[in-house]
């Protein structure tokens, strides 16, 4: 699929530098402009929250050395307070058994995409990122986002939907709502899926005839 709006890979990790092989490979594969590295967790979290209109996969370190940084678990919670559409891969050098029950429950219930050990073999991490990007591209919200981004910027500001309650929504309103999973965006997703299902069902009946 040729995506108009490529996925950004946000790496929040204090032991990875710009010259590390994983960053070099990711940049070659996805473009330097689509790979963002943040050694401080709060900066990474702020970037994600300020860019919820973009598709993102976050590669997140669990522990940070700087006492001013918040933990990867707190970053994950901070992201989930605002969106469920950013895929987060949590990586750590420590064992999973070091997580307590509440932390594990939180990660599972709030849909952590993957949990992986960070070793010198980064290829497995790259594969997980590819898997996350593929999953994102197959989501209905991503399909709608790509469709919206194919339109000129001025067109995206024009009303697209009008309710008999007297409210109008532009493509940008819908896109923003989809990323934040608020009502009109969710309704738009549901409506598109319902239309696709109905059209598909009727097409089958026509073939049967």
């Amino acid at each position: 699929m040729n995506e108009i709006a490529p996925t950004q890979i946000v790496v929040i990790h204090d032991d990875i530098g710009e010259d590390d092989p994983i960053i070099v490979v990711l940049s070659e594969k996805h473009g330097t402009e689509n790979v963002k590295l943040f050694p401080h967790s709060k900066d990474g979290l702020n970037y994600v929250l300020d860019n919820l209109g973009k598709k993102m996969v976050v590669l997140l370190d669990k522990n940070f050395k700087d006492p001013n940084d918040i933990s990867g678990l707190k970053v994950f919670e901070g992201i989930r307070e605002k969106t469920s559409l950013v895929y987060v891969i949590l990586i750590t050098v420590s064992k999973i058994t070091e997580l307590d029950d509440d932390e594990l429950k939180m990660l599972i219930n709030k849909d952590l995409f993957k949990f992986e050990s960070f070793t010198s073999d980064y290829t497995q991490i790259i594969e997980l990122i590819d898997e996350a990007i593929l999953s994102l591209s197959l989501r209905i919200d991503s399909v709608i986002e790509d469709w919206i981004m194919r339109h000129p910027a001025e067109k995206r500001e024009q009303p697209l939907l009008k309710t008999k309650e007297g409210r109008s929504y532009s493509m940008n309103d819908i896109l923003d709502s989809i990323r934040k999973q608020t009502e009109i965006g969710v309704e738009f997703e549901r409506s598109l899926l319902k239309l696709a299902i109905e059209l598909f069902g009727r097409q089958k009946l026509k073939i049967d005839d």
Binding site: P159, L160, L161, K162, T163, K164, E165, G166, S168, E187, F188, S191, L192, K194, L195, E198, L199, R202
Partner: protein, 207 residues
Amino acid sequence: MINLAIAYDDNDSDLGDYFEESFQFIRDAIDNALIDLHAIPGLDCNEANVSACVLGRPKPSVFAGLSHGNSDVLGADEIFVSLNNSHHFNDTFFYTTGCCAAINLGPALINQGCRCFVGYTDVSLAPENEDFNAIYIECETYCLKEFLCSEKTIEQAFQEMLDLFDNKIDDFFDTNEIVAAMDLQTNKDRLMPLGDTSLTRNDFIAA
């Protein structure tokens, strides 16, 4: 004769033209020899006028509300149907294209003796492109128009309306008007009849 009253908010700043076009579509479809139409335009759409109109004409009768709405009322700046005057609509067929009216208002009308109600269970959508007004209107008023213009039951007319929605959705899809197709799909899914749908127009000929 069948007494038909249509309240339509042509005075609405946003959708006035749409509501007026909806009214005209029904008005132009019906046979004046069979149906006595009383039109209530936007400036006259208030509870007192609408109640007086419904009470002042022989029943059974048919009432249509083409306006904004919510779960409890029809009307925007001026409410013209609500729980306050719902009892005046006993022995009527009540049809509305206003948002959400099937949530509370419709059941309240039925409880007050309204014989059948058709309306939306949620927010309904109007076209952003006015070129599509006629198609949206034809779809959402088909059941009422067909009920008034044939011997079909409300149930038959309602089912045919759903088929018409499907045909128009397919047409929009074929011409790459996906958002309009989505709008119609949404509206189709949100229309609901309440009460006795076995009635025909013959059941509404005033004594």
